[in-house]
Structures are given as C-alpha cells and as structure tokens.
C-alpha cells in the first residue's frame, strides 16, 4: 500500500509546484498590468456610478435594464421629445397659420380687386361634356374626405386655443374625440381615393409649352388676352402635381401615425408627425386656391364638376385648344338631361387625353 502511495504523493507534489508557479505568474501579471491594481479593485467595490458621467450617459438616451415591459421603458430620458415639442409648437403650428392666413389673405385681395371672372361673351346654351360620372364621383369623394381631414386636423392642432373657451367643455370634449376618430379612420379612405385619382388623371397632367405660356401670362391675369389651354390648363396641372407629391407624403406619414404597431418608436412618431403636420398645412393652404377658382373665383367652373357639362362659351374662353377638338360634340341642354340619367360617362375628352 505504502509503495503504491509514494509515487502518488510525488505526483501531487509536482502538481502543486506547477500550480504554485502558475499562481505566481498570474499574480505577477496582475501586479504589473496597468489596469488591475488594488485601486481598481477598491473602485469596483465602491462602484456606484454617479456624477457628471452618469448624467451625461442618461441624458444621451442610454438604454438600461428594467423589469417593465412597456415600450422603450429601458430608456430613462427621451432625448428628442423636447426638440419635437419645440418644432411642433414654435414652427409647425404658427407656420401653418401663416400659410393658411397668407393664402386666405391673398385670395381675398384677388377677389376684391378682380372679383369673379365672368364669361366674356354670352352663353351659347350648348353644352360640352367635360367630366364623366366616374371623374366627378372621384373628385367629390376626394374633396369631401380631404375637407373632413383638413377640418379635423386643424381642430386637432388649433382647436384647443379657442373652442373650449367659446363653446364649453362638453362640446369640446365630443368634438375633439370625433375629430381624432374621423381623422384616423377617414385618412386611409382618402388615400385610396387619392391614389385612384392620381392614376386616373396621370396622363392629362404633363406640362408642355402651352402651359409654360399659360404661366407666363399668369393664367390670364397678365395682359388682356386669355392664354391658350388644352383640356387642363397650367394651373390645374400644377394643382395635380402638388396634390400628388404633397398628398402622397401626407398619406405616407399619416399611415405611420395611424398604425403605431410594428414596433414604431417615439422617434419615428415624432418625425412622422412633423412631416405630416407641415406638409398637410401647406396642402390645405394651396387647396384654398383651387377651391376659390372652382367656386366664387370663376364663373362656370363649378358647373363642370357638378353636372359634368360646361357651356361652349366657357370652354372656348378657358380651354380654347380643347374646345377646338370637341366643339362638334356640343349638345342641347335637353339632351344633356337625358344623358345624365343614363350612361353619360362617355367623356370623349378624358379618353382622348388618356390615350395621349
């Protein structure tokens, strides 16, 4: 037994020696390494990380650990919140008022100086089909949803400054809740209408030299002669592209705000909100020009979108090149009446333009 144990104890001794050498080497490394001194160990024990460095880290939006399951709850400070508040309350909100107020002011000035643009010559009484049933339905679908979104959106941005004061708590409570509800649900419906409209009228809306000349003459404001125009004039094409580009931006950012799912962060929402607010206010300001021209600004313009038919005189005055193409299609009002009830959705003009 003893014989067998002796080699064993020797092996143990040798192992211990090796271990001692390793430990010493390890200690030597620890002692001479610059980062693992006794001071560092003490600092590790004291630990607690506070002071300016801590505050700097926290206010940079560092994410820590938390048992809370709420979205972004690991972040102590939402760094961009204050910037969003600043941009929204000090730039977008007053900016929108300047844009819309400026637009309204300009249109009032135009109306007071020029008044309603009447037809130069008496009406011939013969009508030309300008907008088919589908075009008109689409126009009014987009118009009504647009106006609903504009009014509810303006209420969401500006309502609190005067509605509770003048109309009381109960009206305000219901109005703002309805505004948010309508705005959030009609938004996607509007976007479908907008997309259909953009596609349907895409072909008619490319600018050409006629439109450049139209713009140079200010759409008839500069000089005495009314500038030439095709089925759509430069102004109408401009409105189409404003609505297409700005409208798509508004729809895109609006859908982000509408669907706070898919792990969207506060940051994404802030960005979407700023884009949505700024661009939609600009769009509302521009839309006032379109509404003005289409209603009190110009005689006969609304008829086209209401009944689908325009008077020959109106067509000749405002869209002379288009009139030259379609003047043989002019019909009597009685005929138009029967057509309207039936399948009058044959806008030769619109189809022609689409082919072009």
């Amino acid at each position: 037994m003893t014989k067998t144990t002796q080699p064993d104890s020797r092996t143990v001794k040798a192992l211990l020696q090796v271990f001692a050498v390793l430990v010493l080497a390890g200690l030597a490394i620890l002692l001479f390494s610059p980062h693992a001194g006794a001071d560092d160990a003490a600092a590790k024990v004291q630990g607690n990380f506070a002071g300016a460095d801590y505050w700097r880290e926290v206010s940079d939006g560092t994410v820590g650990y938390t048992t809370s399951k709420g979205a972004e709850h690991g972040q102590l400070i939402n760094v961009s919140g204050e910037r969003w508040r600043e941009l929204r309350n000090k730039w977008i909100s007053p900016g929108g008022l300047y844009a819309i107020g400026g637009s309204l002011g300009l249109l009032t000035l135009v109306y007071l100086t020029l008044g309603c643009m009447k037809l130069d010559k008496p009406r011939t009484g013969r009508l030309i089909l300008r907008w088919g049933l589908f075009d008109r339905a689409m126009h009014w679908f987009v118009a009504i949803t647009f106006l609903t979104l504009a009014f509810t959106g303006l209420n969401i941005l500006y309502g609190k400054h005067f509605i509770p004061e003048y109309f009381g708590y109960d009206i305000w409570k219901n109005l703002i809740a309805l505004s948010k509800f309508l705005h959030n649900y009609i938004g996607p419906i509007f976007s479908i209408g907008l997309l259909v409209m953009i596609i349907r009228w895409f072909g008619n809306n490319f600018f050409n030299m006629t439109d450049v000349k139209w713009f140079i003459q200010g759409g008839g404001l500069i000089g005495n002669k009314h500038p030439s125009a095709e089925f759509l004039n430069g102004g109408e094409k401009g409105w189409y592209w404003a609505l297409t580009i700005l409208g798509l931006v508004v729809v895109g950012s609006g859908l982000v705000l509408d669907f706070p799912l898919f792990g969207l962060t506060r940051n994404d929402m802030q960005t979407a909100n700023l884009i949505h607010g700024g661009v939609s206010l600009l769009l509302v300001a521009i839309s006032l020009g379109h509404i003005y021209i289409g209603t009190i600004g110009s005689e006969g313009a609304l008829e086209g979108m209401k009944t689908g038919y325009v008077d020959e005189t109106w067509a000749k005055q405002h869209h002379d090149l288009w009139y030259a193409e379609v003047k043989d299609q002019a019909i009597d009002p009685a005929q138009a009446q029967t057509d309207k009830s039936g399948k009058a959705d044959k806008p030769g003009n619109a189809e022609k333009a689409e082919q072009a």
Binding site: N48, G64, H73, L76, L157, K160, K180, N184
Partner: protein, 231 residues
C-alpha cells in the same frame, strides 16, 4: 405654496422594485399599465446604478404643451394631472415626455390607444365621486394628507416625494453626512477627503462632530424656492 417633486437618490436605490409594486397596489392600474419603473444602467457591471422613474410633475410640462385636447392641468401643489374624459389617446404626451411617463392600455390600428394613464403623485384626478375617482385615476392619498405610496414604501428611502424644499433639505442632510458636495450626481471617488484642504473637503464623512456637520450643512444649503421660481 408647496411644490411637489420626486427625487430618487441613485446612491441608495437597490432596484428592489418595491416602489413599482406599491404604486401598482395603491392605484390598482389596468393590466399592462405600470406607472413607475426602475431602470438600471450598466446592469451587472461595476458601475451598476438604478433609478426609479415615473412622471416627474414638471413645472414646464411638455405633455401639457403638446396635448391637442388640453386635458392636462397643474394643481396648486404643482402636481400634473389629466382629465381622462377629454383624453383622446393620440399619444402626443408620450412623444414629448422626457421620462416615458404616459402609458396607454392598448396600441391598436388607427391610433386606438385608449385613455392615457400616468402617475398622479397619488393625487387622484378630476372626478367628484371618490369611488369613480379611484377606479379612473387610482388613489388620492394627497387628499388624505399622505404622500405617494411608492416613496412611503421605499425600503432604503432612495425615493423621496413631497414639497421640493423639504425633499431638498432631506437630501442636503444626506449630502453632508456622506460628504458629497454635488449630491446624488457626485461619485464617491471624486469626493475623497483631502487632508490639508480647507472647507468642506477637509471634513471626512462619518468623522465630523455635530457642530462641523451643522456648519457644513449651512454652507451647502440651497434655497430651492429660487430654483423652482426660475423653472
């Protein structure tokens, strides 16, 4: 008039989440709503530091500034409360809040988030009927002359709640005992007592007599009312 504020002493917070539990229990908030949370920076690292955070009842509250319904209001005590009848759940307060305090019961399509819920400093909300108030906004301990339960139940007294002046007085006392001239935002490392130096830096925490501490306390005294007024 008192200005109510929370203060969390990061040197004391041990991440026990007692405040979170106390809050949940006092206010019986909806499933998924957690008004208070504890965040630990550098978890598991040598510098691990925890802080309990909820609505800080800002004097210039961003939520109030951006709310489209104007449902927020400040009580005379500086507590920021909101009217859930007016709230439309748009989420703007959450976008603006620096502390992630506003909570929403759901996050659905078409921006359906439900009515916002947040810390009320245990001061309830705008509802006359006490039962309805309790159900809608949680406890109204302030009306009973009590402070928020989270701070009351904090085991290390890291979380302080109450009048800003009182809270800062308590905190200043701690600063004196610990010898931290910058309060919660200073590290032990920087504050080692330096022999041969004059003033508070010459004093070693735990080795001062009461006179020395009183002298140091008055030297470090800050009138919080000026700070509050400035804010």
């Amino acid at each position: 008039m008192a200005k109510m504020k929370f203060l969390c002493d990061s040197e004391r917070c041990i991440e026990c989440n007692g405040c979170v539990t106390a809050c949940k229990n006092a206010n019986e908030t909806e499933w998924g709503i957690q008004r208070r949370r504890v965040v630990t920076i550098d978890d598991g690292e040598p510098n691990e530091t925890s802080i309990s955070v909820a609505c800080m009842h800002c004097t210039d509250a961003p939520c109030m500034a951006v709310c489209p319904t104007d449902c927020f209001y400040q009580t005379d005590d500086g507590i920021v409360l909101h009217d859930k009848d007016l709230c439309i759940g748009c989420g703007y307060c959450l976008f603006a809040c620096p502390f992630g305090a506003p909570q929403f019961p759901s996050e659905g399509a078409f921006g359906e988030r439900g009515k916002m819920d947040k810390c009320t400093f245990c001061a309830g909300g705008p509802e006359e009927d006490p039962a309805k108030q309790k159900a809608k906004y949680g406890a109204n301990r302030i009306a009973e002359g009590k402070l928020p339960l989270c701070a009351e139940m904090c085991s290390t007294k890291a979380l302080l709640a109450g009048d800003a002046q009182k809270v800062s007085d308590i905190f200043r006392e701690r600063v004196v005992y610990r010898g931290h001239k910058d309060g919660a935002w200073s590290s032990v490392d920087e504050q080692k007592a330096a022999p041969g130096k004059q003033g508070p830096e010459a004093l070693v925490p735990g080795q001062m007599d009461s006179q020395q501490m009183a002298a140091l306390a008055s030297e470090l005294a800050v009138d919080a009312s000026n700070i509050i007024a400035k804010a």
